[in-house]
């Protein structure tokens, strides 16, 4: 079965500190795309960062970076200098492209709390 697993239902971090959210996935495909989405209390789904599986270089987007380990099927998100506005539910997801009709398959989510 194609799955995405986020083993941390909840995480907390102090403002200005760094936190890492874990994600593992399972697929037999070699080409796919990985995403982290953020869902604040407003409910809006916001793309945080994405990674192409064929790229070895880890994606970065300002304070957000990923640690992509293809062999281990791991895709963790690191948030540096955490801000109060980072508090949200974070979802890891993958897209297998045409193979799956380009659907996003999501993990269960990690609720991040940022403490002042």
């Amino acid at each position: 079965a194609q799955t995405v697993t986020q083993s941390q239902p909840e995480m907390s971090v102090q403002e200005a500190e760094t936190v890492t959210l874990s994600c593992t996935y399972d697929t037999s495909e070699s080409d796919y795309y990985l995403f982290w989405y953020k869902q604040p209390p407003s409910r809006q789904m916001i793309l945080v960062i994405r990674q192409e599986a064929y790229k070895q270089q880890n994606a970065t987007e300002n304070r957000f970076s990923v640690n992509f380990q293809k062999a281990a099927k791991s895709f963790s998100l690191k948030i540096s200098d955490s801000q109060l506005g980072d508090a949200a539910m974070y979802f890891c997801a993958y897209n297998l492209g045409e193979t799956s009709g380009s659907r996003l398959t999501f993990g269960e989510g990690t609720q991040l709390t940022v403490n002042p």
Partner: protein, 115 residues
């Protein structure tokens, strides 16, 4: 300008009623999706359309019927609503269904509560 919009944002209705949720995107994308987020916040694909053609029809009860009058609109009609249909429904769009790397842009969601 809103990229992906949904109406209504909130919908409270009685069991057995029929309701529709509308979605529009002004991004010029070819592909649109419906996802359901349950009470545990789990998100799952329901349907996708590419240029008005149905691509994904997940194992969803046939009380749910998507309709795409044109590639900028994807509506979701639900017949005979049940308590278990209570959820948040998200519409999303992307440029090209053949390209898995395409970012999917989500609408604000419609919170449906069936009483």
């Amino acid at each position: 300008d809103t990229a992906v919009s949904q109406t209504p944002k909130y919908l409270v209705t009685q069991m057995g009623n029929d309701k529709s949720i509308k979605c529009e995107q002004n991004l010029g994308h070819d592909t649109m999706y419906w996802y359901k987020q349950d009470s545990k916040k789990f998100l799952k694909i329901m349907f996708s359309y590419n240029n008005k053609e149905l691509i994904i029809n997940e194992t969803v009860p046939n009380r749910f019927s998507p309709k795409s009058p044109d590639k900028a609109h994807l509506n979701l009609h639900i017949n005979s609503l049940e308590l278990g249909d209570s959820a948040v429904y998200f519409c999303a769009s992307s440029q090209d269904r053949l390209a898995g790397q395409e970012t999917q842009y989500f609408g604000p969601g419609t919170r449906l509560l069936v009483l």
